[in-house]
């Protein structure tokens, strides 16, 4: 399977995503330059973390106009899998691939720390390798991760099982103190209505090796592999 990692000017987790696919998954990965109109026959697109266009204006607001986004949106509309991580999540929201927006963290500070996530729906193409309500440990590193959407939209997400990850404490409880950025309903990750576009603020590509603290992110990549290959 081939993963295409999009490099926007200011992307800085493109390398991590690329290495994750090759080193931890043993699959193919290519970098896709944002000025190109060619996804190089990638099966899965990763919109990586970073500060595309310096987060100027609003995180993701300029990157959504990058040439390559035309093809990324087409790929998503065709049902192709898209993993939008951190800044990628922000870009996906700006591009209309996912509902809602990511606001400045409630603390007004950048937060870099390992967090606990609960799998809210293990029946997606990104989470099938996990158990429902399993708690995994994955790092976050962002200044604008406070997920927000209208109450109606949040209810819709909730009702359709589209909330995939929530911030929880070590026991798996949804608490305020476990919410690192003030996200509505402790939301850490969602999928679109069709289930093929995932947006999440935490970095699963940084949690693939116990040497670095956790391998809990591996399940995400394995889920995609089994679902897309099947």
């Amino acid at each position: 399977m081939k993963f295409g990692v999009v490099t926007f000017p200011g992307s800085n987790c493109d390398y991590d995503a690329y290495r994750a696919v090759i080193d931890s998954l043993g699959e193919d990965a290519v970098y896709i330059w944002h000025k190109d109109h060619d996804l190089q026959n990638s099966d899965v697109i990763i919109l990586p973390g970073g500060f595309s266009y310096g987060d100027y204006l609003r995180p993701g607001a300029i990157a959504r106009f990058s040439p390559v986004m035309t093809e990324v949106v087409q790929h998503a509309r065709r049902g192709g899998p898209v993993m939008a991580i951190c800044n990628g999540f922000q870009i996906a929201c700006e591009a209309g691939l996912l509902p809602g927006a990511l606001l400045r963290n409630a603390s007004l500070q950048f937060v870099s720390a390992p967090v606990n996530l609960r799998i809210e729906n293990a029946d997606t193409m990104f989470t099938s390798a996990y158990e429902e309500h399993e708690v995994i440990r994955v790092p976050i590193a962002h200044g604008d991760g406070r997920y927000t959407a209208s109450e109606h939209e949040l209810d819709t997400l909730e009702g359709a099982g589209r909330i995939v990850f929530r911030y929880v404490d070590a026991k798996g409880e949804i608490t305020n103190s476990a919410n690192p950025n003030g996200s509505a309903r402790n939301i850490a990750g969602i999928v679109n209505a069709e289930g093929n576009v995932l947006g999440m603020m935490p970095h699963p590509e940084r949690a693939l090796d116990d040497l670095l603290g956790s391998h809990d992110g591996l399940g995400l990549f394995e889920s995609i592999l089994s679902r897309v290959a099947a």
Partner: protein
């Protein structure tokens, strides 16, 4: 030589103007002799920057020469943008530390951010990809609203810049002491990785090769930043805020990628950051290293605004710019690479055979210096040195006679006070704002002794740390210089890495004062001795003098940035206890050493006494023994015993890992005879707290190196608390109260307001 006439519109060069440029009359005479005529305004500006302390090292160069700089693994010593060492497997590490003290004192956010940007550029211009950032910070007391403003601003500036570029900030140190009130120290270190054959030096070569300005446009910001950094801070310094540069980390990220692509392309000969003194110093330094002439046409430099004079263009410190010498005929290729990253590249000059440094504005020559030694032909000084008798008297104070406070009858109270002292307390409040895991190599991040990064594609890792105890150096500069190196080496060795080389950042006061020059001389001597004994040569660094404000002169603070190599990343060792039932061992002897300690400073507000003495030969043997024991797999955790002494070190081993706190039951009656406070809180050097399941092996290895090791206790469940017995006295505390003291201190202090305005009444302008 060309005719150089004053440029219409430029001010006449008068003695007042010369003085304003910070040149002494002797230095001005030297300039006139060099030119054989009166300098133009532009030439005066150039020399004022190049001969500033910041660029010329005129008061430190004679001392720096004495430091050891070579070893078989050193590929590049001092004199380049960064030092480089080989770590085997064909790989090399480039690293350097630099100060941004003065800018951060007047504009903390931009001052710190551009400090990060500058040091990043120094490392990637060597051809290395930056893989880690560290920073060594010092502020006044956090009780001051102004200090909280500076601290918060500096931390945010470091975070916003490094996070955006995508380089993990993994380690460092933060110290709070009234001595840094009004003059905080902000030292940033960058570490980069490359293949040995990718090393490139900033040496202009090849007559006819084009000189190209790359990156951001040149504006009017930061003009004379280098000179600003070379004078004492005063109340008038705030008016010099425009001399602080403004950073754009997004452009930096593009420049980083473009520069590495340029270097790998083979189209260029040399590349250097336009850092302090901008275009002037980058072009002069590259010309000097290559022993060639250069000519620069300022009218070709891309500028942000029209009407900039040659003087302004030459001395601007606008950020995110590079100067490149390309192979002749490859200009288009260079431009193509820059265009890919939406950056500019303009040919602004060329390497010439004639041995001159020439600046033109179109056809008009506005500056011309003979020879190519503009930078090293600066004056050098070895001023008088004499210890301040008041400091000698402080050192002679008999601190053992200082009466204990009533509260100290319960030494657990004292321990909690120390754990909550901002210098010792957890710095999570700061480092949680730094992305420490991007690039997915961080094995041990901030909060441990040293940070550890894996080296992908090998079994290796590197450990990095900055250290310095300014209080020791103030009371005893020779010893303080030794300890800065030894402590950094201990921290690196605790992870299982062999200390390999250092970069240093010497933060001192005004060297024209004999007492300051004495401190500088002695501290450098101490560092040199330690580097020699520990086989960790100096590969470069930075000197920041004139760290004085009307309110204080900083402690002499020779910060050391150490890099070590772990042959096997599987041996990486962490600082906190891991298993109930493990034996706790103390490595090293404990002596009655209370002078200059955190205990005296925090509990008794006293800065006095003879600081702990550093025995370098013992340090070397302990490091060898520790590394051997770690290699043998006999050690579970290793923690350096430093600020706050043994009691604080033991407490940190129990509480630092919030996810897995443990207790300990310890008896130190055997290791020391003397006062209990010296046993608990004395800061004897060369000590480590280890936990182990295999004490026999550890003891055997330590003995074979002639290093003292004592089994002092056992790791217990968290609910048993921390017990440290010393004869009849016991520290007996639950873990929660120690943890709360250590983890919550800085967040709680930082919840108080922070204000930019100085709350104190205005001081006399100096």
């Amino acid at each position: 030589m060309s005719d150089v006439a004053p440029r219409p519109g430029d001010p006449a060069v008068t003695p007042e103007l010369v003085a304003e440029h910070g040149l002494t009359s002797e230095e001005y005479d030297r300039l006139v002799r060099m030119l054989g005529r009166t300098p133009t305004f532009t030439e005066l500006g150039i020399i004022s920057a190049l001969w500033s302390e910041h660029c010329s090292y005129k008061h430190s160069r004679n001392l720096l020469k004495t430091l050891p700089t070579t070893a078989p693994w050193v590929l590049q010593g001092p004199g380049e943008n960064a030092g480089v060492i080989s770590i085997g497997d064909g790989l090399a590490v480039a690293f350097k530390i630099e100060s941004h003290n003065h800018p951060s004192a007047v504009e903390p956010y931009q001052g710190a951010a551009t400090g990060v940007g500058g040091i990043l550029r120094d490392v990637f211009t060597m051809g290395a990809r930056p893989i880690a950032m560290l920073n060594s910070l010092r502020f006044g007391s956090l009780d001051s609203a102004r200090t909280r403003y500076l601290f918060a601003g500096v931390v945010k500036g470091i975070g916003d810049y490094g996070n955006c570029v995508g380089i993990p900030t993994v380690a460092g140190e933060i110290v709070f002491d009234a001595a840094y009130e009004g003059n905080p120290l902000v030292n940033a270190m960058c570490v980069g990785l490359m293949h040995e054959n990718q090393l490139i030096r900033a040496k202009a070569e090849g007559v006819g090769n084009p000189i190209i300005a790359v990156g951001a446009r040149t504006g009017r910001d930061g003009i004379h930043g280098a000179s600003f950094a070379s004078e004492d801070l005063s109340e008038a310094s705030d008016a010099k805020r425009p001399r602080v540069q403004v950073g754009d980390p997004f452009t930096e990220k593009l420049l980083l990628e473009a520069s590495l692509e340029l270097i790998r392309s083979g189209h260029i000969v040399a590349i250097q950051d336009m850092g302090a003194a901008g275009l002037t110093s980058s072009s002069a330094e590259m010309a000097e290293r290559g022993d060639v002439g250069v000519t620069i046409d300022v009218s070709k430099v891309p500028v942000r605004e029209s009407g900039m004079t040659p003087y302004e263009i030459l001395l601007s410190e606008s950020q995110e710019r590079m100067l490149v010498v390309a192979h002749k005929g490859r200009e288009a290729e260079v431009r193509t690479i820059l265009q890919k990253w939406d950056l500019q590249a303009e040919v602004i000059g060329e390497v010439i055979a004639e041995p001159v440094y020439r600046v033109t504005e179109g056809d008009r020559v506005v500056a011309e210096f003979p020879g190519s030694r503009l930078v090293t032909d600066c004056p050098r000084y070895s001023p008088p040195a004499e210890e301040d008798s008041a400091i000698a008297a402080l050192r002679a104070v008999d601190v053992a006679s200082i009466a204990e406070l009533e509260e100290e009858k319960d030494p657990a109270w004292t321990l909690r006070q120390l754990l909550s002292s901002p210098t010792i307390a957890s710095k999570r409040w700061a480092y949680q704002q730094y992305d420490s895991t991007v690039r997915t190599n961080t094995v041990v991040g901030p909060g441990g002794d040293a940070a550890v990064l894996r080296i992908r594609g090998t079994s290796k890792g590197i450990a990095v740390k900055t250290d310095c105890n300014g209080r020791y150096t103030y009371l005893d500069p020779l010893n303080g210089g030794r300890i800065a190196v030894a402590e950094a080496a201990r921290n690196v060795a605790c992870t299982g890495a062999r200390p390999r080389a250092i970069t240093n950042c010497l933060n001192f006061g005004n060297p024209r004062k004999p007492s300051v020059y004495y401190q500088l001389r002695e501290a450098i001597r101490g560092m040199g001795e330690a580097c020699e004994v520990l086989s960790t040569p100096v590969t470069g660094g930075n000197v920041s003098l004139y760290n004085e404000s009307p309110r204080s002169s900083v402690y002499p603070t020779p910060v050391v940035g150490m890099v070590g190599v772990l042959e096997s990343i599987d041996n990486v060792t962490r600082s906190t206890f891991e298993n109930e039932g493990d034996a706790i061992l103390l490595v090293g002897d404990t002596r009655d050493e209370l002078g200059g300690t955190e205990y005296l400073a925090t509990i008794h507000s006293t800065i006095a006494g003879q600081p702990p003495v550093c025995d370098l030969e013992l340090e070397r043997r302990a490091i060898e023994a520790l590394l051997e024991a770690i290699d043998a797999g006999a050690i579970t955790s290793a923690h350096d015993c430093s600020d706050g002494g043994l009691a604080v070190a033991l407490a940190e081993c129990c509480i630092a890992n919030l996810d897995a706190q443990l207790g300990a039951d310890v008896d130190i009656s055997e290791v020391f005879t003397g006062a209990s406070r010296s046993a608990f809180f004395g800061e004897t050097q060369g000590r480590y707290v280890l936990s182990s399941t295999n004490t026999a092996t550890v003891e055997k290895i330590m003995q074979s190196h002639g290093v003292t090791v004592t089994r002092i206790g056992i790791v217990t469940p968290r609910s048993n608390g921390l017990k440290i017995r010393f004869n009849g006295t016991v520290i007996d505390s639950d873990i929660e109260s120690l943890s709360s003291a250590w983890h919550n201190s800085i967040p709680s202090i930082m919840s108080a307001p922070a204000v930019a305005e100085d709350p104190e009444p205005a001081m006399t302008v100096v």
